[in-house]
Structure formats: structure tokens, C-alpha cells
Symmetry: C2
């Protein structure tokens, strides 16, 4: 049982409680009491105390003691917010592991983990500031509060930021302006006259810029304004609901740009339910952040960040920073990828 607000239980606590030395406790914890000939009665007393006091070993201490002093251990982290989808993150992890495996050898070892923070609460993640958790991190899916935190301190280890532009860090970025523009061009070239852009109500920097560039392009090319439809959240259900409302109100729409694929998926449903056909009545463009955009019905035309390139860049940068400790942060812009499929 945990003891309210007392100091954590350590081997010393237990040792004192039982009246033996910490070594004896440790011996029992490691199940070495046979070979080290502890009296069965003592072992039982120690076991009882461990249970009674609710001992939880200190991992940092164990690791320090357990590690082989001949090998260099590197801790890498991929930090992302809970609120964001893990699709891209898991690809990043796989790529990090690939490079790490390649340089793992006799004296070198890597641990890679994904850790999540509540959007806006990155600063609360323990060990970030005092560098006591990672030798290098990739940070992604931050919100402005997190960005402000990062911009305010220069973390003293390798940091690569994915999807945000921060002056003091190495950043890998897509080009939402270009993406929005190209999406608009595709729709307009397909003779779309009443373009609509579907966004979540809470815009991230990326989604805002995509939508903005889309509207600006429409304005520049046609002199008219694109309609903006805001979904409550990021899910297909949110997208479906928002677009259903738009179409149901009799508003025009013959071309749709959804700033995330999940919204596009919801939009598909709303469009079909309204008896419209894709792309004949309404052409749809997504961004390609969904694993299976290719299997939407019809397959979704996508204009968006080139994930392959982004993943590769971000991981390459991380390893570069870790070996070469660069002084100047760099910004890497990854041009959009355009995949024409049947939906526009």
C-alpha cells in the first residue's frame, strides 16, 4: 500500500524496517538469496516488508547500476501530443529505428520511445528542461503554447521539430501555402466554380495556412471567395456533419478541399448521402495524411506534405545533430506531393 505523502520507499527503508542491511534486501529483490545463502526466515521477513511498504524500485538508479560501462547508451524520444493521430509518428519511429539499428554495434546502443504530452503542456514533461531523459528528440504536433515554451528555452541536446517553425531549432516543415495553392489549382482546372474548403474549427498553424492559401488562390484566379466550412473536430463524423449542414442548407459546392483526410472521409459520406457523385458533381481533394486514402471510394486525390520525405529528413537531421552538434539551426522545407487519383 502506498503511504500517502511520505518519502518513496527505498531498499534502505525496507532494510531499516526489517533490521537488515540494504544488501540483503537487494539480494532478495533480485532473487539471489539462494546462492547468497540468506536464511529463509530473513527472506520471508524482507518479502513481507517489500509488500507491506509498497516498494517500487527506482528505475534510474537501477539503470545506472545495471548498464554495462563499456557501451554507450543513447536515448531517443519522439514526442507528440495525445490529441494528434499517430500515423506519421509511427512512421517516424520506424525510420529512427532503422537508422539506429544501422549504427548499433559493440559499444553503442539506442533506445527509442514515443512519449505523449497533452497539447499545450509540453513544458510539463519531466526531464525535458534538465536534459535528464533524452539525448535527442523529435517533437511534433505541438500547439502554440508548446511552441512558445520551446522558443523560450534552447534545450541542450539534439532537437528536431516537425511541422513547426521555431527560430532556435532545427525544423522540418511542409509548405502549407504551396499545398493550399496547388489544391485550389487542381479544383479550378477541373472547372470547379464553387469551391469549398473544409477545416476543423480549431485550426493548427498548418491547417490554417493551407486553407488561407487555398482561398487566396481562388480569389486571385476567379475573383470570388471560396466558402469555408468548419467542422467541430478532426474526425470523419465531424467532417460529415459539417458538410451535411452546408449541403443541406442549399449552399453551392462543386469542389471540396479538406485540410485533413479524415475530414475528407466524412465529407465523402455527406456527399453521397446528398445524392451527389464524386468527382462528377463534387470533386474532392485531400492532403494524404491517411494511410488508406488510396482505398477511399473513389480513391482520394491528395495534395499534401510528402510524408516519405518528411520522415526521412527529420530522422536524418536528428542523427546529424547528435553526431555533429550543429550550431546554426536549419529549416528544411519539404515540397508538397501531389497524387492524382479519381476524386478530382
Amino acid at each position: 500500500m502506498a503511504r500517502g505523502e511520505k518519502r518513496p520507499v527505498t531498499v534502505h527503508t525496507i532494510a531499516k524496517h526489517v533490521g537488515v542491511s540494504p544488501s540483503a534486501v537487494s539480494t532478495v529483490l533480485a532473487n539471489r538469496h539462494e546462492e547468497r545463502r540468506l536464511a529463509p526466515a530473513t527472506v520471508e521477513k524482507i518479502r513481507a516488508a517489500v509488500r507491506e511498504l509498497g516498494y517500487v524500485p527506482n528505475i534510474a538508479a537501477r539503470r545506472l547500476r545495471a548498464h554495462d560501462p563499456e557501451v554507450h547508451h543513447h536515448e531517443l524520444g519522439i514526442l507528440t501530443s495525445f490529441e494528434a493521430p499517430v500515423f506519421l509518428v509511427s512512421r517516424v519511429l520506424r525510420q529512427v529505428q532503422r537508422l539506429a539499428d544501422a549504427r548499433t554495434g559493440a559499444g553503442r546502443r539506442y533506445s527509442i520511445s514515443i512519449e505523449m504530452f497533452h497539447a499545450g503542456r509540453l513544458r510539463a514533461m519531466p526531464g525535458l528542461l534538465n536534459a535528464s531523459r533524452f539525448n535527442g528528440v523529435i517533437v511534433t504536433n505541438t500547439v502554440p503554447e508548446d511552441d512558445a515554451f520551446l522558443a523560450g528555452t534552447t534545450l541542450p541536446y539534439a532537437v528536431v521539430v516537425l511541422g513547426r517553425r521555431l527560430p532556435n531549432y532545427c525544423c522540418v516543415l511542409d509548405t502549407p501555402g504551396e499545398i493550399g495553392r496547388k489544391a485550389a489549382e487542381i479544383l479550378l482546372k477541373g472547372d470547379c466554380r464553387s469551391p469549398v474548403v473544409l477545416t476543423p474549427a480549431l485550426l493548427t498553424q498548418s491547417t490554417a495556412e493551407r486553407a488561407e492559401a487555398f482561398c487566396a488562390t481562388v480569389r486571385a484566379e476567379t475573383g470570388r471567395e471560396a466558402a469555408r466550412v468548419a467542422a467541430l473536430g478532426f474526425t470523419p463524423a465531424n467532417g460529415a456533419e459539417a458538410l451535411r449542414a452546408h449541403l443541406g442548407a442549399g449552399r453551392r459546392c462543386d469542389g471540396l478541399y479538406a485540410v485533413t483526410d479524415s475530414l475528407a472521409l466524412g465529407a465523402y459520406q455527406a456527399i453521397k448521402d446528398a445524392g451527389r457523385r464524386i468527382p462528377k458533381d463534387i470533386a474532392v481533394v485531400g492532403v494524404g495524411d491517411h494511410e488508406h486514402a488510396d482505398f477511399f471510394d473513389p480513391p482520394l486525390t491528395c495534395v499534401g506534405p510528402s510524408n516519405d520525405t518528411i520522415v526521412e529528413q527529420v530522422v536524418t537531421q536528428l542523427f546529424y545533430l547528435m553526431t555533429h552538434r550543429r550550431v546554426k539551426p536549419v529549416e528544411i522545407f519539404v515540397p508538397p506531393s501531389v497524387v492524382r487519383r479519381a476524386s478530382a
Copy 2:
């Protein structure tokens, strides 16, 4: 630059190299040299040595030193293989975080991370055996080699296994037999006469049992054999290709059970391309392991593990084990969830 096979560089190495004490080095590393009045020349020499020797701080040591001795730190891990999709894993993480947040307080803190291993190489994950990485873990997406490893040793901390049955651990399991049976029943009740089961060529324990139970039920109810179609892999493209071959060869099919939703998604495409309608010509049943099964066109009827329940159970068990150190391992079977949608 890393120095080949030498011992890792520590603050001592650097101190000796420069001719100062480790404290001075540490001071510079923490950027406290101003307030502690180190001579600028010394600072520069130390910085140069840090760069030259390629110093990488030991995280375990930093953590041990940095942590507040008043707070109890708990390390939780979710271990999964690279080769598996992260959909369920990310849900597990969110749920773990929820419970952890609920019990985080003054003297208590949790760190939760996802770590991945190569399928079959779980044993190679450092710190598992000597308990130097986690106070508790959820293990999932193991393959038989990993299971053998786990079965062979009883890890001395809280372990919950998701999706595998191991005698010495607390396991949370779906019931693939029941799932396969119910899937068959749904199709047969819909007057399906030529049922087909679509599986990946490399069957996992779960997918094998689902398919097996499906076929057994068909046999028992109708006296005929269900056709088995094997896809090369787990992706929609694999599923589409396999089913296309089946339909193209003129083989019968008026009801399909796909043992993963990604295969079902591919099957949708093959079916539509062949000019058949869902569910009129071919009814389709999936398992509900895809986030957006609800937005397939038509929405996918699913008979599969009840992910909500599984996630909840697995996390509850983890926290239970961590506080109560149970002696007897338990097996928790989660009954299937059936979600009727339009596809069958």
C-alpha cells in the same frame, strides 16, 4: 567524433583531458559557468573537449541525480512490435495516461512510453530481464518466439499481455473462436450460400483462429466448405489483389469475412471493380480494428474484439498489478462486439 570501441566519454574523461575537475565540466554542461564564475578560457577549453571527444551524457545518471527524492516515479511501458499497426496501441496509451493522470499527485508521477521491438526479438529489448527500465508494462503484438521468451521467465514486475495466452502472466484476450462463429452466423442468416474468408498468408494466432472458427461454423450449419482466400500481406492492396484473383477466376462468392479491416477495405475495391454490389451481391463482415470502419462505403459490419473493453481491461489490470502485486496470474476473456452496419 565517436572513438570507435573505447569506453564511453564521461565528465571524468573530459575533466582529465582538460586538466580540471568533473565539477567544472558539469558546470559548463549545465551552462552555469557565469554564476559560478569559471574563467572564460576554461569554459572554452571544456567546450572544445566536449565537442572533440563526442560526449553524450548518461541519461540514467542524470535522472538519478535530477529527480526529486520526494516524488515516487513510476515508469510504464507499452511494448509492441514494429510490424504491427499502432491503432490499438495508441488507444492503450491514452487510457494508461488517463488512469495515470488520475493518480498523479504531489508525491507521485508517471512516465509512459511506447517502445517497439522487432517481431520475435522481444528478448533483445534491454532492461526487460533485469527490470531496469519499467515498473510495469503492457506487451502486445508478440509472435511465438516472443511468447516463448516470456513463458520462459517470469519478469519481476507488473506485466499484462494483450492478445496472447501465457500461463505465467496476466493476459487479456479476445475470443477469436466466438468471433469467427458469429461472423459466419451473420453471413449465413443473410442467406449467404458461398461464403469466403479472406486472411493474410501469414496467419497470427488470432487470425488463424478466427478463420478456423468461421469455416467450422459454415461446415456445421450448411455441410459445405467456405472458400479460403489468402492475401500476401495485411494491407488493403494485398486484400484487393487476392480477392480480385478469386472473383476474376469466376469462383463463387456472395459473402465475405475479412479477418482484418484493412483486408476488408481492399476487398471493397475488388468487389466494386468487379461490378458487384455490397451487400446485395456480396455481403462483407470485418472485425472492427480500423478506426474508420464506420466510414467505409458502405459502412462495414464488424464482428471482432471489443476494443473499448480490451483497452479498459488491460490498463485496469496493469494498475491493479502495480498496487496489489497479485500472485496468481489471471486470464481475462473479452467477448466479441458485434456492430451491424450496412455491409452485411
